[in-house]
Amino acid sequence: MKRGFLKTVLMVTLSTVFLASCSGGASKSDDSKANGESKQSESSKEADNGENVTLKLYANYSDDQEKDTLDRAIEEMKKEMPNVTVEIEPASQDDGQKLKTYAASGNLPDIFKSDGVDIEILNKSGTLLQLDEYAKEAGIIDDIADAYKDALYMSDGHIYAVPWQSPWVNSFYANKKVFEENGVKIPQNYDEFLTAVKTFNEKGVLPYALFGKEKQWCLHLYDIMVTRKAPDGIKGLDENTAKAGDVDYLEAANKLIELVNAGMLSKDVFNTTYDQAKALFTSDKCAMFMTGTWALNGLEQEMGDNLVLMYYPLADAGSEEEAKWNMSGGYSQGGFSVPEYSKNKEIAAKYAVLLSRKVNDAFVALEGGTSIYKDSPKSEKKLGPVMSQYIEDTKNFKSMSKFDWNLSNQELKTVMEDKAQELLTGTITAEDFAKEIDAAIEETN
């Protein structure tokens, strides 16, 4: 009798929970649809009446540079849309987890920065508002530089985010002082690079600081090597238009192994963080360093004349010029997006589109980066010669691959990161490396 009663209590509890969960799941999408419709009409009313509207903005707003840029852009926006106030929520550096959680629970802010793979996932769920008309109305489509037009459109040919900054690339830096003190020539091609690595090693100087704890930088190094001959680099693998077993890709892997065996990297490379690697380079304990060009300005301020920007001195002797402008890195779809269910989606969409342009302008003016628009504002910042040269050089860029975080095939990306790190241990052959990656390409396509 007692057992029967306990069974009943247990069954009631379990049934309640299961029924609750089932009904909750079903009603969520209906609710959001219904809310979307009612909210749209509310939004239109507010827009028509010119009432004050407060929008939530999820954007990069942590360091001084990000704050200054966004503050200036928002100040400019007050002239364009004076009835709109924004509440900023600083974006977390968490691989988009917070954003995905917001999306899963239907709580995305009115405007949010979306990039990389997140935007693909969010778009699949039908969460993103199409911004084609808003971008056209704001003149974005006409004004954006032709080279960056592709960055506007996603694979379905529509705009879901408007970018705010020009693409960066991976870059190699040399410490002139370390090279001079050790009597080593700054390399221009692969042979000279290998010689430099060997010479520095013999002299007890670390040749190259890689922050290998972040696996994507191991993959970027591989990408740089590949793009000397195959301009698509890891983008080709991501898009399944190339195989890691292709001749150029295999050659790149073999060259990396050769460099590793020659002592290019620190023994602690896989425990080295960005700050540690940068400190080694800027404190003259290391000859070369790699990071994105977003760090160029800061490095130049810190190192002055000692900083040399190198365009990947890893091509074969004689083909340096041919490969020089095959850039590693590049852009992906991303920028400011608006959720379909935003209470103020009309206003948010207009604001997001205009804000992205204002952020671009503010960044160019304050930081001296390159603009993605044909008419770019003048920089207020006095740029160093290396940065100025880089801005000039961007006009020569012939091709771009992709940054690791912009790859669309996430599972392949993880395998490539793991294998690239393993490749840099020098414990696997280029053939095994290629075999594993090609198997992953097959598995995930």
């Binding site: 007692k2 009663f5 306990l6 209590v9 247990l10 509890t13 379990l14 309640t16 929970v17 299961f18 969960s21 691989d95 987890q97 995905k100 999306a103 899963a104 793979v117 996932i121 969010l122 699949k124 769920s125 969460t127 007890g204 670390l206 704890k213 972040e214 696996k215 620190s266 023994k267 602690d268 896989f270 425990n271 080694l280 304990k285 290391c286 996430q410 599972e411 990306k413 993880t414 793991d418 294998k419 790190q421 393993e422 840099l424 241990t425 414990t427 696997i428 594993e436 598995e443």
Partner: protein, 297 residues
């Protein structure tokens, strides 16, 4: 009291809230994990039913899974041997009346357990450093002793997993010592006095009295340490990122990568289910073979 047990409403009032919380917080997520492991699910969209696809991939084609399972054997084995083996010896020594200042030693041994995992990992990363520009304490000691054993401890999978298991054990041994020490202190002195009268040495007394009577404590420790070892994540995350490559991956780390880096929550759920089953299996084996009978003093 008897009346209360007969009163079904009273039973319901006492049981239902706890049962409801348990069901919602523990049971329901486990069932959901099991269900979602049968779906291709990115954590945002609804997901598509794929049956046992994830499990088939996991057991037949995923090389990281094999590495994780092997690491899941090595890691707990080392922590169990170190923590229980050395922990027993230290607890026995500390419980001896001949040892002066045992209270101070007890505190000293417990210090690592009070440190956060991040601090322990950073501390050991600095001690294990091997680059010529920054040689860590461990390699420096080998150098000073003239022993040619300096190496990059975290560069190969096997040495990295052994090192991380060792430092997990180093950090956790304080708790183990405390549990064993408390258990030793609860053994009645009369047993030892009787053994001494029969001519037993201290060593023999510990072998024949202390160790057998600690079996229930060992059972608890085995379950805690082994399941902790199988669920190892934080040391890998902080020290090696599961690398080089995937050499120090564990099932928990795989689960994290699958869900939060690949956005493949369905596959992560399949790994989670496998991990739960693995932990359950170990617990069942321990319950079956260790301390089957309850000891009453």
């Amino acid at each position: 009291m008897k009346n209360i047990f007969k009163n079904k409403i009273a039973i319901f009032v006492f049981i239902f809230p706890t049962l409801l919380i348990y069901t919602v917080v523990v049971f329901y997520p486990i069932v959901q994990t099991l269900v979602k492991s049968l779906y291709n699910w990115d954590g945002i969209n609804l997901g598509k039913f794929v049956g046992l696809k994830h499990y088939i991939k996991l057991f037949t084609r995923d090389s990281t899974f094999r590495v994780s399972i092997i690491n899941g054997i090595i890691y707990p084995t080392i922590t169990v041997l170190y923590q229980i083996g050395l922990g027993t010896v230290i607890a026995l020594v500390l419980s001896s009346k001949k040892i002066k200042g045992s209270r101070i030693f007890r505190s000293i041994y417990f210090i690592p357990s009070t440190l956060s995992t991040v601090i322990v990992c950073k501390l050991w990363l600095a001690m294990l450093a091997s680059d010529q520009s920054n040689v860590g304490l461990i390699n420096r000691i080998f150098g000073l002793l003239g022993i040619n054993y300096s190496q990059n401890w975290l560069s190969s999978g096997l040495s990295a997993i052994i090192v991380m298991a060792f430092l997990t054990a180093w950090q956790g041994i304080g708790n183990t010592i405390l549990l064993i020490y408390t258990a030793i202190k609860s053994i009645p002195q009369a047993y030892y006095e009787a053994a001494m009268l029969d001519g037993a040495t201290s060593f023999k007394a510990h072998i024949h009295i202390t160790i057998p009577l600690l079996s229930e404590t060992y059972k608890l420790l085995l379950i805690l340490i082994i399941s902790g070892g199988l669920r190892a994540f934080d040391h890998m995350y902080i020290m090696t990122g599961g690398g080089p490559g995937n050499a120090t991956s564990t099932l928990t780390y795989m689960m994290y990568k699958s869900a939060y880096m690949n956005g493949n929550f369905g596959y992560a759920c399949a790994i989670a289910v496998t991990l739960v089953l693995e932990c359950l299996l170990c617990t069942l084996i321990i319950n079956r073979f260790v301390a089957r009978e309850r000891i009453n003093f």
